[in-house]
């Protein structure tokens, strides 16, 4: 349905004439009914990508195709894509009802049909009864629901959400995330969801696209990304475990953290990145060893930090200052 081919965008540093690349040769596609999460740190270009798709900015190169048709020059208001902004951008001069009805009014829909649809989406986001409230009087969570209703009301062909839960506190986030999953599934439209929070991405996504400095670092289902991170950056951004890189010397890996055995043979002198996931077990013949410097109780398990800087999750707490040997999974990336 939506296809992006080699999209490029740079941004002009004010004052200097220099162009800083924001997006470099981004290609991706979104299938009908699919939820794609763009995950990346701030500054990686995720929001810019959404603005290009929405038509709020023009790409410098590449194509944006919708059902095979290039829409790069189609103005934003003719694309029929919905966009939900980070701090919602609700119209402060309109009440809840008029905010939600805005997109429908732009389509010149009959007022009876309009009222029905507004009631419908407000019910979907559990905001029935708030029709005549001022949006400035709503709480953050309520504003978020109204913004979602406003984006959904005109039945967009594609829904884009830019960090929709970013401004909310943790507890509220968890509840709304769950609801959002149901609402998006019910709407049945393709969704592009931008976030820097991997928990949101893993919960919602059919497919995750990891963005790093304007390029796609990895694309795949949440399971694929989780179990086979493409490189050291992906593994450390997702916080999958200890990421070490070093050089192969005499069949083992030399790193600033010490020498580690290699699970697969690699040629002598090659640079290799190793991922050591934290779940581990004490084992007297384990390949990993170190002096315990800190032990933190983490509910089910203990987080144990070693002198060489690595950390592990153990079922039993060793004493600080003792030497331990461990068995853990080593993966070459």
């Amino acid at each position: 349905m939506l296809e992006l081919l080699n999209l490029t965008k740079s941004y002009n540093l004010t004052g200097t004439g220099e162009n800083q690349p924001l997006l470099r040769n981004i290609s991706l596609s979104v299938a009908p009914g699919e939820t794609v999460c763009l995950l990346g740190p701030s500054g990686s270009g995720k929001s810019t990508l959404l603005r290009l798709v929405a038509g709020l900015e023009a790409p410098e190169g590449g194509e944006i195709r919708w059902q095979g048709r290039d829409i790069a020059t189609l103005p934003a208001h003719k694309r029929q894509f919905g966009l939900m902004f980070q701090d919602y951008a609700l119209f402060p001069h309109l009440d809840v009802q008029s905010n939600v009805a805005f997109g429908l009014r732009m389509q010149a829909i009959a007022s009876s049909a309009l009222a029905v649809r507004v009631a419908e989406v407000l019910a979907l986001v559990k905001m029935s009864g708030f029709e005549h409230r001022r949006v400035t009087e709503l709480s953050g969570g309520e504003q978020q629901r109204v913004a979602l209703a406003r984006a959904l009301a005109p039945r967009p062909l594609l829904l884009m959400l830019d960090e929709p839960l970013g401004a909310l506190d943790r507890a509220l986030k968890a509840t709304l995330l769950d609801e959002l999953r149901h609402i998006l599934r019910q709407a049945g439209i393709p969704v592009m969801y931008v976030t820097h929070d991997q928990e949101e991405a893993f919960t919602l996504a059919d497919r995750i696209l990891l963005l790093r400095e304007g390029q796609i670092a990895q694309a795949g289902t949440p399971l694929e990304v989780f179990s086979h991170p493409a490189d050291g950056w992906v593994a450390s951004f997702l916080g999958l475990g200890n990421v070490l890189s070093g050089v192969v010397r005499a069949g083992a890996l030399d790193t600033p953290f010490g020498r580690f055995p290699l699970p697969k043979t690699r040629p002598e002198g090659a640079t290799v990145t190793l991922l050591i996931r934290p779940p581990a077990a004490l084992a007297s013949d384990g390949p990993l060893a170190g002096k315990v410097t800190d032990v933190l109780f983490r509910g089910e398990q203990f987080r144990v930090e070693l002198e060489n800087g690595l950390y592990f999750h153990l079922d039993h707490a060793p004493r600080v200052g003792t030497m331990i040997r461990l068995q853990a999974r080593l993966e070459v990336l």
Binding site: H77, G82, F102, M106
Partner: protein, 560 residues
């Protein structure tokens, strides 16, 4: 009541509330002289006042709105300079603005002289002075900066994502403007329109100098009835009507201003450059219009004051155009050799002396008052708005009040029939007293604002660091207040120097001020009188410009 407040309260009591009371008393007395002819004339005046104010405000908003957008959202060359340029007229004395338009478009102005010599005409082809167009143009020139600043600020802080959200919901750029941008700007637009209307409604100098005798607003009519018709009750009645109107508009304005502050959180935007060719063309043409409208009159005045373009008295044939300083040197010469003739240089000296007195009085009265009001008790809270009331009264109304009040000894038994001046009215002091009354509310307000910006924690920090109370005052309060005092003083100075309405009623012929002298010379025939008027206006503009520069440099906070 705090003792420090007493001088200001007493002063305003005598020099504002007493005259105001006299006007009220007189206007409520039965009008014996109100015949049908006078009644219909006053009705016409009232109608025209509302009409010209409404037309001027509408034009000002239409002119200012694109400029507000330009300054708020677009980055273009010379922006800070052009922003200052649009703000200058607002502070200029009306006589200067009138003289500037006269120098550009008047019968002896640049355009007419150029066209006459180019086309060989004997009469000036452009008739600008004495038309409604001149009044409207001058009002736009004066007040567009209000729209640019108030609406421009709101526009600059408008969250652009609201527009983008609307576009993603299917709104075309035009619908975004009508459905989102304009409704969000409405409070600012309303406030700006009301303020502009208020200024246009009480306009005096512009109507008198550019509109000529054909046009009369309430303000002009008050002066006319008082000075020429000698019908003081009619003048008092008009003053009352005007006072009620301005009071209503002021309340509406304050209300709209308070709504302005409320709902939107500011999201300051970095202005962007014009990108497409069409955008660049639009920006360039707007900048050109702006530059012409503001720079041309302001340049026409000083240039015309040093150019001889027509034959002078005594010269048979016109010598070619030449640069000359004779309009300036002439200011010092009593050509008529008359002892009743006051050379214009004396008017300049009077004006400077009056301005100096106004600065001294308003600071001496205003500083203690501001300190008392900064930490108000119950009485001070109640007095606070009362001290600001003179802002609502026009200068001409004040002048009329003085005419009614000080035409006899204030306390007769204190001056028992000696040769001493029997009344304030005869004294040249009456003008600086009126100017102090006008400037005092501004001075108190701005000093009060400056005092409020000193957080008590600064004083506490200084004290904890070992400063004695005196050192605290010197190191903290004075450092901040001295700037505010300079700014307030410069403001009082500008007000007094350019004030025309009250001075035109109160300044005695033997003690003219610069504005009244400019007015007199402009209304007299002859190239030399014209040139001298322009020379004086140029001097006035320069001094005012310097004072404005000082105010801008020391500005602490606040708009309008």
């Amino acid at each position: 009541m705090k003792l420090r407040l007493l001088p200001a309260v007493l002063f305003l009591g005598i020099f504002f509330f007493l005259p105001l009371g006299r006007i009220l008393a007189l206007s409520l007395a039965p009008l014996s002289q109100l015949d049908a002819a006078l009644f219909s004339r006053l009705a016409d005046v009232l109608r025209f006042t509302f009409f010209q104010a409404a037309a001027s405000s509408l034009l000002t908003v239409l002119f200012g709105l694109p400029l507000a957008f330009l300054f708020a959202r677009v980055d273009f060359p010379l922006k800070p300079f052009l922003r200052t340029l649009t703000a200058i007229p607002f502070m200029l004395p009306t006589v200067v603005v009138a003289a500037a338009f006269n120098a550009l478009l008047g019968p002896r102005g640049w355009f007419n002289l150029a066209l006459m010599s180019a086309l060989g005409l004997s009469q000036p082809p452009i008739i600008f002075l004495g038309t409604l167009g001149a009044i409207l143009a001058a009002h736009v020139f004066y007040n567009a900066t209000i729209v640019i600043r108030l609406v421009g600020n709101a526009w600059a802080n408008l969250d652009p994502r609201l527009g983008q959200a609307a576009r993603s919901l299917g709104a075309s750029p035009a619908s975004v403007f009508w459905q989102v941008t304009l409704p969000l700007l409405r409070p600012a637009l309303l406030a700006a329109t009301l303020l502009v209307f208020l200024f246009d409604f009480t306009s005096y100098g512009v109507i008198l100098l550019l509109g000529g005798p054909k046009f009369s607003t309430i303000e002009v009519e008050i002066a006319l009835q008082a000075l020429q018709m000698l019908n003081l009750p009619a003048a008092a009645l008009l003053s009352l009507i005007q006072l009620l109107c301005t009071l209503t508009f002021s309340v509406l304005y304050t209300r709209s201003l308070s709504r302005l502050a409320a709902p939107l959180k500011p999201v300051p935007q970095t202005p962007r450059r014009a990108q497409t060719r069409l955008e660049r063309l639009l920006v360039a043409s707007l900048v050109c219009v702006l530059l012409m409208f503001y720079a041309l009159p302001l340049l026409a005045l000083p240039l015309r004051s040093i150019s001889r373009l027509e034959a002078q008295r005594g010269q048979r044939t016109a010598s070619g155009p030449a640069l000359t300083l004779e309009y300036y040197t002439e200011l010092f010469i009593n050509r008529r050799g008359s002892i009743f003739y006051i050379p214009p240089a004396t008017a300049a000296r009077n004006s400077l002396a009056y301005a100096g007195l106004t600065v001294a009085c308003s600071l001496l009265l205003g500083f203690p008052a501001a300190q008392a009001l900064a930490r108000p008790g119950r009485l001070e809270k109640w007095l606070d708005p009362l001290l600001l009331l003179p802002l609502g009264a026009s200068a001409v109304t004040l002048g009329l009040g003085y005419l009614l009040t000080f035409n006899r000894p204030l306390v007769p038994f204190l001056v028992p029939g000696r040769g001493l001046a029997l009344s304030f009215l005869a004294s040249p002091l009456i003008v600086p007293l009126a100017h102090t009354t006008i400037a005092l509310p501004f001075v108190i307000r701005s000093l009060q604002a400056a005092l409020a910006t000193i957080p008590p924690r600064y004083r506490e920090a200084a004290a904890v660091l070992g400063a004695s109370p005196w050192q605290v005052w010197w190191q903290v309060d004075w450092k901040i207040l001295s700037r505010a005092l300079v700014s307030a003083g410069a403001f009082a100075f500008t007000v007094s120097l350019g004030e025309f309405g009250a001075a035109s009623l109160l300044a005695r012929p033997e003690y003219p001020t610069l504005p009244t002298a400019i007015f007199r010379f402009l209304s007299q025939p002859g190239g030399m009188n014209y040139g001298q008027a322009l020379a004086m206006a140029t001097i006035l503009m320069t001094i005012t410009g310097l004072a404005i520069g000082l105010i801008e440099k020391e500005r602490v906070a606040g708009e309008f």
